[in-house]
Subunit: 233 residues, 2 copies
DNA sequence: CAGTGGTCTAGACCACACG
DNA sequence: GTGTGGTCTAGACCACTGA
């Protein structure tokens, strides 16, 4: 049943001009002859592919094709630098700076004592006025003070560090995974719990191989296109 | 509500020995004081993190911690070679060889005429007797004949080509994304529709930069750990 | 066969956006 | 206030597994 609805939805989306609203869920469900739950289940696939966008209290819209931010993973670049280079404009949404105490995981990653102070920077990146990425950096406090972030912060910790030039940075090690959004990520990216996002877990090292920034990134599929060239043997 | 259930589920899972079964969904839902739908929604997160495994007609089990297959993405290696090197055993599940006609996408990717013949190899990779990856390769027919795949095929097209040594291969370009499983992928990996998987879309090139293999890979989170080193600037 | 997860239904209430 | 999507409920039937 749901597979059939998937197909019919596909046709409906194709027949709807980008930016236009779909029928309200109860009406659409009735028209398709299924329950709202089934309809929503079928819609989920299209949401996470970036074809539909739901907005509570407003409606469900067919997404305007947006320019994707494409990048190779061999070089570490901030999303801001990247989009500048491509000629795309992104903005920063919610940004929070919080002093945190290192839990076990953080302590091990950053090589600091458990319970020591760290700086956590969370923010949302908007592309096309829509949340497209959610970034959480946790930094050693001796590396960056909150004041340095304050004004003119565009969303990239990397760019701040690079601009300052100290400490000199070498590379990051990034683990890549898929991830079902939990409540926090879902709220930040304005999606539903359980929707899939691309997840990077990354450690940034100085040229002396000291880890200084542990960062978690969550990317909405459809807005980014990361690639890597893999050589044979 | 569901966030609270999430927390309680976490405790229940932690208190259950790996390999053990949870209570049946209706009972567990009643015990937690929520509907079955809500319980299932909360479970979804744990499934896609690899902590729970559902089996229709049998029950829901706490997953035994399995060794993850970890690999850098800079070098192209088959899962089989990889797991051999790590000392892990994987097996091939369902394998299908099908002659296909190139649609528009395939034709463009492989640089062949639309409508020309291609060979499609689909198979499932089992780790710990559980589907962990679903791979679909589409090859130019002049590159590989079905007979060459037939016997002794362990699941890796790459290994077959490398062993033969002709044509010589250079690299692959791989795009990385998250992906909500559609019915086909869900069935192959024995998960629910909509669950998130890691998705690679990859083109394999010869040393003469001819594309010969277009491959789609779907990885169950929790069984693989892919990483990449990104150098600064 | 009985018991499990997979799917679907019809209805309800809520939080939210917008006029 | 009205209409939207977000969430939850109680119940039903199905397909599948294993004894």
């Amino acid at each position: 049943m749901s597979k059939e609805i998937h197909q019919r939805l596909k046709e409906i989306i194709a027949a709807t001009a980008p930016g236009e609203r779909l029928l309200a869920e109860p009406k659409l469900a009735e028209q398709l002859g299924v329950s709202r739950a089934t309809l929503r289940e079928a819609m989920r696939i299209f949401e996470t592919r970036g074809f539909l966008r739901r907005r509570q209290g407003v409606g469900t819209f067919v997404v305007r094709p947006t320019q994707v931010i494409e990048s190779g993973l061999e070089v570490l670049e901030s999303i801001e630098t990247l989009s500048d280079r491509i000629g795309l404009s992104v903005a920063m949404g919610d940004c929070q700076l919080v002093d945190c105490v290192a839990d076990e995981v953080i302590a091990e990653k950053l090589g600091v004592e458990q319970g020591s102070k760290t700086l956590r920077i969370s923010r949302v990146i908007l592309a096309d006025e829509r949340p497209a990425a959610f970034l959480v950096d946790t930094l050693r406090p001796d590396v960056l003070a909150p004041e340095e972030v304050g004004t003119n912060f565009k969303g990239s910790v990397l760019d701040v560090l690079l601009k300052r030039g100290d400490p000199p940075l070498k590379h990051s090690r990034t683990e890549i995974n898929a991830f079902a959004a939990d409540s926090d990520v879902a709220r930040a990216l304005d999606i539903q719990r359980g929707d899939s996002v691309l997840h990077f877990e990354s450690l940034l090292y100085t040229i002396e191989d000291e880890p200084i920034d542990y960062s978690l990134s969550y990317f909405l599929p459809g807005y980014f296109k990361f690639h890597v060239v893999r050589r044979v043997g």
